[in-house]
């Protein structure tokens, strides 16, 4: 299995919450675990460039995304992340297809048909996103991220609202994308089985600090 080097070594302060992480490792998929409010989403946002660490370095697959001492802080649009945020955040004024295709401008990686087929989006394609069910929205968000030809996938509880059968199929598909297109990923989930299935590195957080890391 392919692996890439990860450097998640930074400090980030928001309100009274401080996130401190100092991890350097090789992996294909990292999973972030930990109780509510432990800092998982904060880490994904920092990788995507949507929140800014006070200090440190973020590097994935030899691409430096942030480095305080070098003065590097790539804008989000140059970070080539495929982000499925926890709050889903579909563009409410666009159709499902409009959402899915939004990121394709930078060159398409995963073939559209297979993404749409596997995420069972076809029948929804022309619908307005505010007429979708919770699970349908999440699938669209996953498709949108996959279609944006990312160098790294950031998935924040992407299957929380998806039913168990589909969850299974989608997990398999995401693993396939990772392995065939060699896209590393960072995966956040509360479901222990998912985590074990998908990640070869698990980082356990609590109150903004790393409690343990495991190699699966």
């Amino acid at each position: 299995m392919f692996t890439v080097p990860f450097v998640l070594d930074f400090v980030l302060q928001q309100g009274e919450f401080t996130l401190q992480i100092h991890e350097r490792f090789e992996a294909s998929s990292v999973s972030l675990c930990g109780p509510s409010g432990s800092g998982k989403t904060t880490i994904l946002d920092a990788i995507a460039g949507l929140r800014h660490p006070e200090d440190g370095r973020i590097e994935i697959a030899n691409r430096v995304l942030f480095d305080r001492s070098l003065g590097t802080d790539l804008p989000p649009r140059s970070r080539r992340v495929g982000y499925v945020p926890q709050d889903v955040s579909l563009f409410p004024h666009m159709s499902v297809l409009g959402n899915v295709m939004y990121g394709t401008a930078r060159g398409s990686p995963a073939p559209l048909e297979s993404v749409i087929k596997l995420l069972e989006i076809e029948p929804l394609a022309g619908r307005r996103v505010n007429e979708l069910s919770g699970g349908e929205r999440q699938r669209v968000a996953i498709a949108r991220a996959l279609m944006s030809s990312p160098d790294v996938l950031l998935l924040d509880e992407p299957l929380a609202a998806v039913d168990i059968k589909r969850r299974e199929r989608i997990l398999l598909y995401i693993q396939q994308v990772r392995d065939e297109l060699l896209v590393p990923m960072v995966y956040v989930s509360h479901a222990a089985d998912e985590v074990r299935r998908i990640a070869d590195r698990v980082i356990e957080l609590d109150s903004g600090r790393v409690m343990a890391t495991q190699v699966e």
Binding site: G49, R77, R80, S148
Partner: protein, 218 residues
């Protein structure tokens, strides 16, 4: 008069429409700037933009006349490039644009402020450039505010009188519904004035109707 009325009406609508179009680029740029950024001197710039609303139109007309008149800096520039503005249809457009702009800016700005930044951020992670984000995310999500601004700007342009009569006069080639209504009321041609008022009201009705249609489409 009937033929004249048609001419004046078409001319007014065309000028107000053109002014609205001209307002759009600077208006939306300023609205965006004020909504999404803070910078030194912002309040001063905002005040300057809002002045045409706060000062009586006659005063704005006077300021424009001084500026664009033969002895003003703008006028001398225009003279050099050989463009005649004062007392031509272009002056009508200038007056309407200046008077409508503050309404567009304020309203569109509120629209942008209502847009959740999260959408702009997600679009950025998908590789969209700032311009693309503006055009495909911020602007459509701010559509209600922007539309309100456009309607207000257009309506104001149509109703503009004080600044128009000052810099464009009320000539066959610059007469708008508003200046014509003024002349009619001044000379006691009440029927004529009433007809023109009803015409202006009808245009307003069409504008309201179209804007409501647009709002439900989007």
């Amino acid at each position: 008069m009937p033929g004249d009325l048609v001419d004046v009406t078409l001319f007014s609508v065309a000028m107000a429409g053109l002014s609205t179009v001209l307002m759009l680029v600077p208006g939306l740029a300023l609205a965006w700037l004020f909504a999404r950024h803070t910078f030194p001197g912002q309040s001063v710039l905002e005040t300057v933009v809002s002045l045409p609303l706060v000062l009586p139109p006659v005063a704005i007309g006077l300021i424009l006349l001084r500026f664009l008149g033969r002895y003003g800096p703008g006028g001398q520039l225009l003279d050099e490039i050989g463009v005649d503005v004062i007392f031509t249809w272009k002056a009508v457009v200038v007056a309407m644009t200046v008077m409508g702009l503050p309404l567009l800016v304020r309203s569109a700005r509120a629209g942008f402020e209502h847009v959740d930044r999260r959408y702009e951020q997600i679009a950025e992670t998908l590789g969209a450039s700032p311009v693309r984000i503006f055009l495909t995310i911020s602007l459509p999500l701010a559509a209600r505010g922007v539309l309100a601004g456009v309607v207000l700007g257009f309506s104001r342009a149509l109703g503009e009188f004080g600044a128009t009569i000052m810099i464009a006069g009320s000539l066959p080639g610059t007469r708008t519904l508003s200046t014509a209504i003024y002349t009619s009321t001044q000379t006691g041609r009440d029927t004529e004035a009433t007809i023109m008022l009803l015409t202006a009201a009808s245009i307003a009705f069409v504008a309201v109707f179209v804007s409501n249609r647009l709002a439900t489409v989007e």
